[in-house]
């Protein structure tokens, strides 16, 4: 049994998006879409979060905070890139200040396309992420077990 899939807490970071995708993430929290139905809470704090919802094409200054937010999330964790900007830089790909795509900085597990990504699409993306989250947890458990056996042997 796993609770991880029933209680995915999110943290949202706007890595230089145009706001379009961000307000759709927020909209997903509000009554009409109400993602709390799935136990999703916007914690606003990477240390409490399981899923990083990231938007935007990642500009020069965002590299460090984005990495930091990701690093501060405890394992297991997944990253969902929301919007076209987050996927490839989209329409801003060619701008001098964007790196184009979140995967340039941190590993991404799920891509949610759309400009702006619709709330429903974001819900789909998070649901897809849940499966990956569970896999990661199992992997973590295995690793933990093998670690402890090692300690036992030594």
């Amino acid at each position: 049994m796993t609770y991880l899939q029933k209680s995915p807490w999110i943290v949202h970071y706007n890595a230089s998006s145009c706001n379009g995708c961000d307000i759709e993430i927020l909209a997903a929290l509000t009554p009409v879409f109400d993602v709390e139905r799935f136990g999703i809470i916007n914690t606003g704090n990477p240390k409490h979060a399981d899923i990083l919802l990231c938007t935007g094409s990642v500009n020069e200054q965002n590299k460090v905070p984005l990495k930091n937010v990701y690093d501060q999330m405890p394992e297991p964790k997944v990253v969902v890139a929301i919007g076209i900007c987050a996927a490839t830089g989209g329409i801003f790909r060619e701008c001098y200040n964007v790196s184009g795509g979140i995967d340039k900085i941190i590993p991404v597990d799920v891509w949610v396309p759309g400009c702006a990504a619709r709330p429903e699409s974001i819900i789909d993306g998070v649901v897809t992420a849940l499966g990956i989250l569970e896999q990661k947890r199992l992997k973590m458990l295995q690793k933990g077990n093998s670690d402890s056996t090692k300690v036992g042997e030594a």
Binding site: T2, Y3, L4, K6, S7, P8, W9, T30, P31, D34, E36, R37, F38, G39, I41, N42, T43, G44, N45, K47, H48, D50, Q72, P74, E75, P76, R137, M140
Partner: protein, 292 residues
């Protein structure tokens, strides 16, 4: 049945086992009702349990290993305080144990030397000093009616305590808002943290530690609602009804009021304790002690 001297132990054990279940359920209902007040469907009823289960599945990331100790102490003493209460112990001792447990939470936040935890810790302390007088006055009020600080005696009393302590009761409900971390007094931390200080005291706790804090909250809920019971102890049905109404009232307040700043919190909590509480006690004192 259970031999006499073990009855309190039995109650304490029941509390230790049942309170988290009940507390989690209360939290679940709370979230459900809150969602409905906002026109949403809300999470499943058992969501709080999923959350805590999840937290224990996560990595225990700490800023300093000492955090583990403070959190564990927080939980343990919260349980001790509640168990003492339900085993019929001395109210004042319960209150002190309760404070002790909170101090551990605060220390845990301080330990991490992080700006948000730090501000959260300071605010948590401000909350403690805001509600503590009122809670002590509540105990004193109970004593003045029943001549005992022992919960067991208060429980056994056939007097409708609420009739003697209406002011105290209202005061208690108001500081309860602080304790339940509800608006307008969710200063030090709050449920979803759309807050200037992120998650305040709990900012730098993650995974299992956060789960423990949550469990401690559940124990706390049950204990705090248990105090409401005392006001109505003479009739269990009314007591249950009162708890339900009171809790609904708390949720309603949470949903219909903005967060205040610490100055107003301290002022209102103290003024309420100082007026409602003291006037109530004063009148009672006059009736009981002066008029024979």
């Amino acid at each position: 049945m259970i031999p006499e001297p073990f009855v309190p132990v039995f109650y304490a054990l029941v509390y230790i086992l049942v309170a988290p279940l009940l507390g989690g359920l209360i939290a679940g209902i709370d979230r459900k009702v809150t969602a409905r007040m906002q026109g949403r469907v809300g999470p499943p009823l058992l969501q709080p349990f999923y959350d805590v289960g999840k937290l224990f599945e996560k990595e225990n990331a700490v800023v300093t290993a000492t955090q583990n100790f403070y959190v564990l102490s927080y939980v343990v003493f919260m349980v001790v305080a509640g168990a003492l209460f339900f085993s019929g112990g001395d109210m004042l001792l319960v209150i002190f144990a309760f404070t002790l447990s909170h101090i551990f939470l605060v220390l845990g936040a301080y330990a991490s030397y992080s700006p948000y935890s730090h501000v959260g810790a300071e605010r948590e302390l401000l909350q403690i000093i805001a509600y503590e007088p009122m809670i002590i006055l509540t105990a004193v009020g109970m004593y003045m009616v029943t001549k005992s600080f022992f919960v067991s005696t208060i429980m056994a009393s056939a007097v409708p305590i609420i009739l003697f302590l209406p002011g105290i009761f209202i005061g208690y409900l108001i500081v309860l808002t602080i304790k339940l971390r509800k608006s307008p007094f969710d200063l030090s931390t709050s449920h979803h943290a759309h807050q200037e200080i992120v998650k305040g005291v709990t900012t730098d706790f993650a995974g299992p530690n956060l789960g423990k804090i949550e469990i401690a909250h559940w124990y706390e809920y049950v204990f705090l609602l248990g105090v409401i019971w005392l006001f109505f102890a003479w009739n269990p049905f009314i007591a249950v009804a009162a708890i339900l109404v009171a809790y609904f009232f708390e949720i309603l307040i949470d949903n219909t009021i903005s967060r205040v700043k610490w100055q107003l919190m301290l002022r209102s909590a103290w003024v309420i304790a100082g007026t409602l509480g003291l006037v109530n006690l004063g009148v009672l004192y006059y009736l009981r002690m002066v008029v024979p």
